[in-house]
């Protein structure tokens, strides 16, 4: 079983659309994992039936035992996130949205009235799609993606692959290069960076390839909107060559693409895309 993770550093480079399209192009048995939970849009592109949603926990939230609380309001003053407020009936109340579970209230409380309960940050499930099982998650609003959630959906992805005898696990990774990306990279066989010409994308690509290098994972590149700025594209190709990343596809800018996406038509049905992405998938297979 080979694990391939799609990353981009910068948002808006077309990573999710391309990942979903590769999932449609590849005929081999596979599992798709949506670890880009900040913009978990894979499910929009890969319809199917979801199993029951399961809760996902991350961090803790403060809980006050009002039997023990003497309403001294020390916690209200000391909370670094202003997440404990005095209610109209003069009691301290924790705002779960603002609480980060840091534990300072528990430290300062004179009567030990605080405990910390696991915090449900979202839900996740497995969807049965025509192209294989899709593991995806939905964070509650205001929650950030975390390494733990990525680790959890990836673990389920591997379990699904073992169960269904899949050859590939295709992971749509989170943006950036922080903690969730580390969790998405670890133990994969290939990193594919989806990038586009431009200074911000160039900057992010550099950092992403360095990170892949740190984890000793081979990297490849899909250059999207390749013809939009030929000079910037040259710079990107130079970066790729310097860092030993193979370019597995160059996708031209086509006005039909945004039009198709706005109507919910998969990228793959845009004329010419089938061939480009078909070849791309062949190249990827050779690399792993």
């Amino acid at each position: 079983m080979k694990q391939i993770v799609m990353l981009s550093g910068k948002g808006g480079t077309g990573k999710t659309s391309i990942t979903a399209s590769l999932a449609r192009v590849a005929t081999e048995p596979k599992v798709i994992v949506d670890a880009d939970v900040d913009a978990a849009n894979m499910a929009i592109l890969l319809p199917g039936d979801d199993e029951q949603w399961r809760p996902f926990f991350a961090g803790t939230r403060a809980v006050i035992d009002y039997e023990a609380c003497i309403n001294c309001m020390t916690c209200v003053w000391e909370c670094p996130f202003k997440a404990i407020r005095e209610s109209k009936d003069f009691r301290p109340v924790v705002d779960e949205f603002d609480c980060e579970g840091c534990g300072v209230c528990g430290q300062v409380c004179p009567t030990n009235a605080f405990s910390f309960k696991p915090h449900q940050a979202g839900t996740w499930t497995v969807r049965d799609t025509k192209w294989g099982p899709l593991v995806h998650a939905a964070l509650n609003v205001g929650e950030d993606n975390s390494g733990k959630l990525v680790a959890q959906v990836r673990q389920e992805g591997r379990a699904q692959a073992a169960k269904t005898g899949a050859d590939y696990v295709l992971i749509d990774g989170p943006p950036g290069i922080g903690c969730p990306v580390h969790a998405a990279l670890g133990g994969t066989d290939l990193v594919i960076a989806v990038t586009e010409p431009g200074v911000s994308a160039q900057h992010d690509l550099n950092r992403l390839l360095d990170l892949a290098g740190w984890f000793k994972i081979p990297a490849a590149i899909i250059l999207n909107k390749a013809d939009l700025d030929p000079k910037a594209a040259q710079n990107l190709l130079k970066t790729a060559e310097d860092k030993g990343a193979k370019v597995v596809a160059k996708i031209p800018f086509m006005p039909e693409v945004p039009m198709a996406l706005s109507k919910g038509i998969p990228l793959i049905e845009v004329p010419g895309m089938q061939e480009i992405l078909g070849n791309c998938w062949q190249e990827i297979k050779e690399l792993v």
Partner: protein
Amino acid sequence: MRIAIASGKGGTGKTLIATSLAVHWAKQGKAVTYVDADVEEPNGHLFLRPTFEKTTRHTVPVPRLAGFCDGCAKCQDACAFNAIIALKERVQVFDELCHSCGACVNACPHNSLKLQPRELGDLRHGMAKNINFIDGLLDVGEARATPLIEGVVEAADGELVIIDSPPGASCPAVTAIRGADIAVLITEPTLFGVHDLDLAVQVCQKLNVPPIIVLNRANLGGDMMDAIKATGAPLVAQIDFDPQISVATARGELAIDVVPGFADAIANIADAIVVSEVVS
């Protein structure tokens, strides 16, 4: 009035509309403050072209060892974020993971940990003609944007404050929208756009900030009216796609100054904001 211009999805035209509104109200002689809270990718300055008058370094407090340490690890046990580890006779702090809560400082039996400022980025003040301009610029490689967003939003003061918010529905967006009197959510008629709009509406509801919707590039893509209605927030204005707006924006020009008819579209949005604010 504090107005947050936000959206779930990136690239829907937040900065275009936020900067245009600032210009519109400034032309009417109002005292406007434009705040670019998208500190990871600030580009409001490319259009309003302010002269920066004051730049300060924004900091967050992080713990540093300033005294005796016997490696007792009480700080390590107190930290909920795994941001500090105890070694033999010292500690190591992982600044990126630190939430500046001070639990480790409280826990140290020798009172040896002190919170000290760590620089995150620039907080810049300036004037763009008669618009009061504020933005934040996160240092390259810095992972924690939220404290700088908080700093930028808190620095804004005045009768009419326009907050150009970061995209998404997680911490950065929440920080920028919190405390606003109204949120203007910019969306586009695509499946992704409306999916992410729904999340943005939920953020506003959690924060008790009334949301209104502006549909950009309304004539591109499919009919999303039912889905927009289902979010529960009112659609107050629509802007059609006009290649002239894209060209002006790509060149860093203010579309409101150079594209005929666009000023009227912005005036409509401005009126809708004022009416919605009065109603709510």
